[in-house]
Structures are given as structure tokens and as C-alpha cells.
Assembly symmetry: C2
Homo-oligomer: 308 residues x 2
């Protein structure tokens, strides 16, 4: 087992009311990576296909995450070579850097004979996120590694829970190919929020988690509401309000901004609804003169997978 | 079936991080009520034992709640007589008015042949709360009627969900017999809160709901944290910090202020721990020179019960 291929899923962070705490993994899009154990110690990025990303191991999130793993591993002579096939566009807001970090640490853990638990791997992958955006957040790497819906309760100490994923839940994502910098998306947020809005938000979070366990799609729909972040950030995304309204009319349970944008996600019950939502996204975006891609996927409950 | 006796449970609202949204029902203390159908139309309060509460049907929460029910019932000739045996001290913060409202509407619904659903009964009982505290909140009447843990997601429209209740969960409550007015407890709250605190709170709410479904007592413990309301309100309750710390040392999972106080609740796994917590409450409060009562109870999953 000297060489393996992994699939690393795209992820949606900031699932509506669950800003900064709830994320989910998708079956598509996702990256592929080939990881090889080498006789020469150290970590090398052999190539990155499909995106212009650094080959310098100190500057690539995949190698930085693997470096964090190897620092906790007791053999300093391990050598790892990484080849990345990017299908998740960097800057899309669906966890491009997280997929690279998550795929790399899950793959290397497999090559080493599974010395670490999935939750330990999340910590290592978070170091990739620290490189990518300056903060070691777990919003995307947790669902990428654990699969399904995840909730980050706390960072100090790190406390992550896998939530139940209803079997018929699908996700449709549109990625408008415009740039929204995570730092800009953070800066426009207010430092204080109204108590009444905060209460409404945590009522929705509680209801959404209950709805996932109860597989109550109507309650999922009612609780997919973000009264705090979406009203501020949605101005950065072309035709956001129209897109959301029409997608719900087409049968979506609801949705919102994926991560810090520009992608927008919609959840639906069943594939047929998810595809109708994709058609609607096309209808809304086609006249706008903005390039975009649309993905339709089941919720991925397995996380990063070893595929070869 | 012209005369019945009901048990109406005490309730804990504002369960830690679940301020304004999560409540739970207890097996003790609880009120008893005798409800009788009379040939003479109208609602009468025959007597209130154990507390000095109004007999005027326009001023008693039980009759006001029943009045709301009868307004939706198509027979104007219904006559109801109510006798109340209060065991839940008014002003204790464990849902005294809610028990009277909830017990009355569940009992009358039974006498009329169950024309209304439990969720409809919650609406009627909320009218009793409107009389008691000026706002038709559901924090206590929802768990009193539905039993177990409940979550109020929204008031417009009213959206209440029953949450799963782990089987070994017990609650210990201490009622320090001092007065904390709900209006005072509301006034000291800030109108705005830090975004970082709000995120931490809804992370805890999500985790607590997940923990209830997973029956994960450790996660219940970790998520029983309120970074927004408790720091402000706890100054109104004698020895609150010491009480909470010592109860957790004695084995409590965690807890907080019940409703708007002055009662304090602690959750524990199993009766033995809940009783140790009661002993600890005694040790902390005995030297303070404040009268108090302590209750140890399972979570009541049935809500108001017809007992005779």
C-alpha cells in the first residue's frame, strides 16, 4: 500500500442559521489526489492539475496539513508525494482548500496504517485552513473528513459532533464565477447583533438539528433561515434574493450562502427536486452575463474516500 | 366524565444556552386541579388551595386559558368549575402560572372529548401566560403540555417541536424564596450581544439538541453553557456561582437559572447523582439565612396527566 488515490468532497459551511458552526459534505464536486509513500523523507507536491496552486510544500495546504500530521507521528523518516487533481475551484466557497487538506491527511493516515482517529485528522487539516485563510477553522474540514452534517460547538477545546443526515436530502450548488474574498465577507459583518435576532437564530439552529434527527423535511425547511449574516453578505452575490425565492418556488427546502460565498446552496428532498432547483438556477443566472457552474449532489455521508 | 383530576407539572424554561427557546417538564413539583363540567354556562374558580391567587375568572390564568379554549369551541353553553391545589410556588421560576394554564386546558379538553390537539392547547395556555406576565410566551406551557424537552423555534408563526428526552436524565431544582420579578430580570438584559458570544450560544444550542437525540450525557454537559444571559442574571441569585460549581463537582452535568429565577436547576445522569446534587444544594444554602426548597425529579415526558 505505497500509493493510493482519494476522493475529497466539496463542503458547504455556514449552513444558514448555523453560521460558523454547521457544515455539510457533498458527493460532487470533489477533488482527487494521488498520495505516494516515498523512500526519501519529507513532503513533496508532485503536481497540481486544474488550478494554479503552489508546489512549494510550505505554501500548499495539503502538504502543510500532512506536515501537522507527521509532527505527531513518531517516525521522522516518512516521505510523502502528493499529486492533486482539483475539481473544486479555489475561491468558490465550497471548501476547495479544505478538500485538499482533508484528502491529504486522510490519505496519509491510510498509508501509515491508520494511526490517527478522524477527529485527530480534523485538527491536522485545520492547519491547512490556517494557511489558506489565516484562521484554523473547522467549518469545512470537519464535514470533509467526517462526512454528513457536522457541528463545531467550540474551538477551545475543539468539540465537533457529527449530526444525523436524513437519507433523502440533496444539495444543489451554484458557483457564480466572481471573486468574494473571505476577508471582505468577514469585514462587513457587524460585531454586535440584536438579542432578538440572536435568539431567533439559535431557535432555528436548535430546530434544524432536531429536524435532521427527526428526518422532518418541513422543519428543515422552516429552520433554514439566517437573520444575521445572510442579510449583510447576500449583497455581494448577484441576484441572490431572486435566486433563493425562485429555488424555493421550484421545490427547494431552503438554503443560503455557502461559506463566505460566492456559491449559493439549496437543500431539497429527493433528486428530482434538486434537479428542478438546478434548472431554476440556470434560468435565473443565464441572462446575468456571469459565468457559473451548477452541481447537484446527495449529501456525502462518508467524507474523504480511498478510491484506489 | 363530568369531573376529573389533573396533575400539572412544574417546568424549567431558558435551559442554559436555550434562552427563550428550550424548556423541560418535571415530575415534581406539580399542581393538582379538579375540573368539573357544570350545567350552568361560564367558567368559575371554585377555590385555590396553597397560594393566594384570584378567584375572579378574568384574573386567574387557569380560567383565562380555558376561556381562550372555549372561544374556539362551538358550544357556548359549556360550564366549567375549577379547583386548584397549588404546590408550585408562584414566582418561583419553575412555571407556576404555566402549570395552572396548562392543567386547565388539558383537563377541559378531556372533559369535552378531546376536540383540540396538544399544540392547539399550547396556544390557549399561552393566553394564561399573557395574563401572568404580559407576554404570551410558550417557554413553560409547551413543556407542561407536551412533556419532555421542547423547543420554540418561532412565534410568528408559532412553531414548537418536541425534542427527544434521554431516559436517565434527572433534574434537581432549588427554589430560594426570594423575589425576582420577571420584569426586572428582563430589564437587565442587554439589547445587543457580541456576535462571537451569539455564535458560541447557537453552537451550544445545536450541540445540546444533538446530544439529547444521541443520549450523549457528556455532550449535554459540555453544551449546558449560557454565555449571554446567565452572566447578567446570576447576580440576582444568592451564591449562584458557588452553587453551580459545587453541584458540578458533586456530579451534575450542568444547569443554570430556571426561567427568570430565582430557582436554579441542575441536570444529572441518574437519580443517585441528582440526589447528591440536592445534598450539595443544601450544604451551600443552609448557612445563607434564605428559606429554600429543593426538588429532585425525573424529566416528565408525558406533560399534564389526567390522574382521576
Amino acid at each position: 500500500m505505497e500509493c493510493i488515490k482519494v476522493f475529497a468532497p466539496g463542503t458547504v459551511a455556514n449552513v444558514a442559521c448555523g453560521f460558523d458552526v454547521i457544515g455539510l459534505a457533498m458527493d460532487a464536486p470533489g477533488d482527487e489526489m494521488i498520495l505516494r509513500r516515498t523512500s526519501e523523507p519529507g513532503i513533496r507536491i508532485k503536481a497540481v492539475h486544474g488550478a494554479d496552486l503552489p508546489l512549494d510544500p510550505a505554501k500548499n495546504v495539503a502538504s502543510v496539513a500532512v506536515q501537522a500530521l507527521l509532527q505527531k507521528y513518531d517516525n521522522p523518516d516518512v516521505g510523502i508525494e502528493i499529486e492533486i487533481f482539483k475539481h473544486i475551484h479555489p475561491g468558490s466557497g465550497i471548501g476547495s482548500s479544505a478538500a485538499s487538506s482533508a484528502g491529504a491527511v486522510v490519505g496519509v493516515n491510510h498509508l501509515l496504517g491508520e494511526p490517527f482517529t478522524k477527529k485527530q485528522l480534523v485538527r491536522f487539516a485545520m492547519e491547512g485552513e490556517r494557511l489558506a485563510c489565516g484562521s484554523a477553522h473547522a467549518d469545512n474540514v470537519a464535514p470533509a473528513i467526517l462526512g454528513g452534517f457536522t457541528l463545531v460547538r467550540s474551538y477551545r477545546p475543539l468539540d465537533i459532533t457529527s449530526l444525523h443526515t436524513p437519507g433523502e436530502l440533496w444539495v444543489t450548488v451554484i458557483h457564480p464565477q466572481i471573486e468574494v474574498k473571505t476577508s471582505d465577507a468577514r469585514e462587513i459583518l457587524k460585531q454586535k447583533v440584536l438579542m432578538t435576532d440572536a435568539i431567533r437564530q439559535w431557535g432555528n439552529v436548535g430546530a434544524m438539528v432536531a429536524a435532521l434527527y427527526q428526518e422532518d423535511y418541513d422543519l428543515i425547511s422552516r429552520s433554514l433561515e439566517d437573520v444575521i449574516v445572510e442579510p449583510v453578505r447576500s449583497i455581494l452575490i448577484p441576484a441572490f434574493q431572486e435566486l433563493k425565492l425562485k429555488c424555493k418556488e421550484a421545490g427547494a427546502l431552503g438554503g443560503g450562502i455557502s461559506g463566505s460565498g460566492p456559491s449559493v446552496f439549496m437543500l431539497s428532498k429527493g433528486e428530482e427536486n434538486a434537479r428542478k432547483v438546478a434548472d431554476t438556477m440556470n434560468i435565473v443566472y443565464a441572462p446575468l452575463g456571469v459565468d457559473y457552474k451548477i452541481y447537484v449532489s446527495r449529501i456525502n455521508t462518508a467524507g474523504v474516500k480511498i478510491i484506489d
